[in-house]
């Protein structure tokens, strides 16, 4: 469901994913989006692989209605930030609906019907081709079906009878089954002799297997018969190989598939031998395992030894001494260049860092006024350019004072826009730094504030 993840929780998740500190992960996320912000301003387009692209789009001016006052108003032309998700993101988001497909409404329905008819025609042709082959097999299939019916019904009866009737009746039924199976074998052999090209379907062999399984326990004579039948078949196949090699390959494949389950039945003695050797191997393996366990576990250790070992381990793993907290050195940076905003940065602090005088912050704001709508708020990750001073903070040159007065004027404008009541004081400081520039702003400034600035010394 739609669930909102607060930013603090998101940072915890980032911490887990990347293995950074909470503070560092905060810096990472903010700087990453700060770089995207910067790229948007520079190129108007930022692409992040597997996530999407941010793009600036221009919007023409249009008429709109103020939703609160219901008055018609003109929305001016501006640019907005658009986002298009990448293919990877789209697919992961759409996993639920991936199976849905576009359905044709009108024209497509007729086409689908045609396709179906074509398909059926194709199938019929195939069947016609196959029918000639199948005719020869059908006779054997019929025989098999008859047998399977009888055997299945008998089996069902057997199961029912086993519970109620004594053992004497079982033997009778088994005898009946033997007779039938022998008859079937005779018939199939005749078929083989008649049609050499045809091969036996799998069904016949499977039926044979069932029969042989039932007979196996009582008598070995029938097994011998089976082996004889196999020999006959093999002889026939060898004859076929000489005449028609192409068809024989198919036959051999089928025969091998069928004969595989028969081999263990024809050689029951080997099975017993294998089982005996397997038993020995398993016993030996268990002994070896026991020896290994005894070697490592050491059950004959006394309690004293165990107690003596434990503290040794504890002594070995000594906690490392905690790293000493680094004492931040006050380093005055040289102005001129760019600075990426970190947590807790203010214009006031930045000017103290770069100019050694916090009161000169409007000089920084003068250059960055487009990116900073409110001088009290800086966005972490954004870049602030810091202009250098011509003189020093103690001895300002004429150009510096002009620049600073312009900065104070811009700060006044920003505060006035936000409705700050202290805005007019900035205009007064603007007058203090340079009188000429202050006079130039007379028309752009509200009269009350201008008069207030004039009245102050």
């Amino acid at each position: 469901m739609m669930e909102r993840i607060p930013f603090k929780k998101m940072l915890d998740l980032v911490e887990k994913e990347t293995g950074l500190d909470n503070k560092e992960s905060d810096r990472l996320v903010r700087h990453w989006f700060g770089i995207i912000n910067e790229g948007l301003e520079k190129d108007g387009r930022v692409r992040i692989s597997k996530f999407g692209t941010f793009k600036l789009q221009s919007v023409a001016e249009r008429n709109g209605i103020n939703p609160i006052t219901r008055e018609a108003m003109l929305i001016p032309a501006h640019t907005k930030v658009g986002f298009k998700s990448a293919k990877y993101l789209r697919e992961t988001v759409n996993k639920k609906y991936n199976l849905l497909e576009a359905k044709p409404i009108k024209m497509e329905e007729k086409k689908t019907n045609k396709k179906e008819t074509i398909n059926t025609n194709g199938q019929n042709e195939d069947i016609n081709n196959e029918s000639t082959k199948k005719n020869s097999e059908n006779e054997i299939d019929e025989l098999v079906s008859q047998i399977t019916e009888t055997t299945s019904t008998e089996n069902m009866e057997l199961k029912n009878e086993n519970k109620s009737k004594p053992d004497t009746e079982k033997t009778k039924i088994e005898q009946l089954k033997r007779k039938q199976s022998e008859e079937v074998r005779a018939k199939i052999e005749e078929k083989f002799s008649q049609k050499e090209n045809d091969f036996t379907p799998n069904g016949v062999m499977s039926v044979k297997e069932e029969d042989t399984k039932s007979e196996e326990k009582d008598e070995k004579e029938i097994i011998d018969q089976d082996s004889e039948v196999e020999e006959k078949k093999t002889v026939e196949k060898t004859e076929l190989q000489k005449t028609e090699p192409e068809k024989v390959e198919v036959i051999i494949e089928k025969e091998t598939k069928v004969e595989e389950p028969k081999q263990p039945i024809s050689e029951p003695e080997k099975k017993e031998k294998k089982s005996k050797t397997g038993l020995w191997i398993s016993i030996a393996a268990i002994f070896i395992l026991l020896i290994i366990i005894l070697l490592f576990w050491k059950p004959w250790r006394t309690v004293e030894e165990v107690v003596a070992e434990k503290p040794m381990v504890q002594e070995e793993v000594k906690p490392e001494p905690p790293p000493k907290p680094k004492v931040p050195k006050i380093v005055y940076k040289t102005a001129g260049g760019e600075h990426a905003v970190n947590r807790g940065d203010k214009l006031w602090d930045l000017s103290d860092e770069f100019y050694r005088d916090a009161y000169l912050w409007p000089n920084i704001y003068r250059v960055n006024d487009k990116n900073i709508p409110n001088p009290d708020i800086l966005v972490i990750g954004n870049v602030v350019t810091i202009p250098p001073l011509e003189g020093t903070y103690q001895n300002l040159t004429a150009n510096d004072s002009v620049n600073i007065s312009v900065g104070f004027y811009k700060a006044y404008k920003a505060y006035q826009k936000n409705g700050n009541q202290w805005a007019k004081y900035y205009l007064w400081v603007c007058k203090k730094y340079d009188r000429k520039t202050f006079n130039g702003y007379e028309k752009n400034v509200e009269q009350e504030d201008f008069l207030f600035a004039l009245s102050m010394k």
Binding site: M2, P6, E17, I36, E41, V81, V93
Partner: protein, 95 residues
């Protein structure tokens, strides 16, 4: 701005190697995609909010095959820029 440029700039700012910064960005993207895949919504202060919403099924005309199709409903990702970003980009010329 392409992906490689972002990697380079992040490495410069956080004072780490470019290899490390690619790893971090990949981890971030993986996390965001995973959360959006579960239809979660999250916001980054000063930048904007990301979320998902369902687009209903609709009819569409394909001019090349001249057929009308009923496209199924699907999930789409939306991004709403924060007020700060909106104000900042208001007067920037789009290229």
């Amino acid at each position: 701005m392409e992906h490689s440029e972002i990697v380079q700039k992040l490495a410069e700012r956080l004072q780490i190697t470019p290899k490390e910064s690619t790893r971090l960005i990949r981890a971030l993207v993986k996390l965001f995609v995973e959360k959006l895949g579960k239809n979660n919504k999250f916001s980054i202060p000063g930048f904007g909010t990301f979320g998902t919403k369902i687009r209903k099924e609709r009819k569409a005309y394909n001019p090349s095959t001249k057929t009308i199709q009923l496209l199924p409903k699907k999930n789409i990702v939306y991004f709403r820029p924060a007020s700060h970003l909106k104000e900042q980009m208001k007067n920037v010329e789009s290229k």
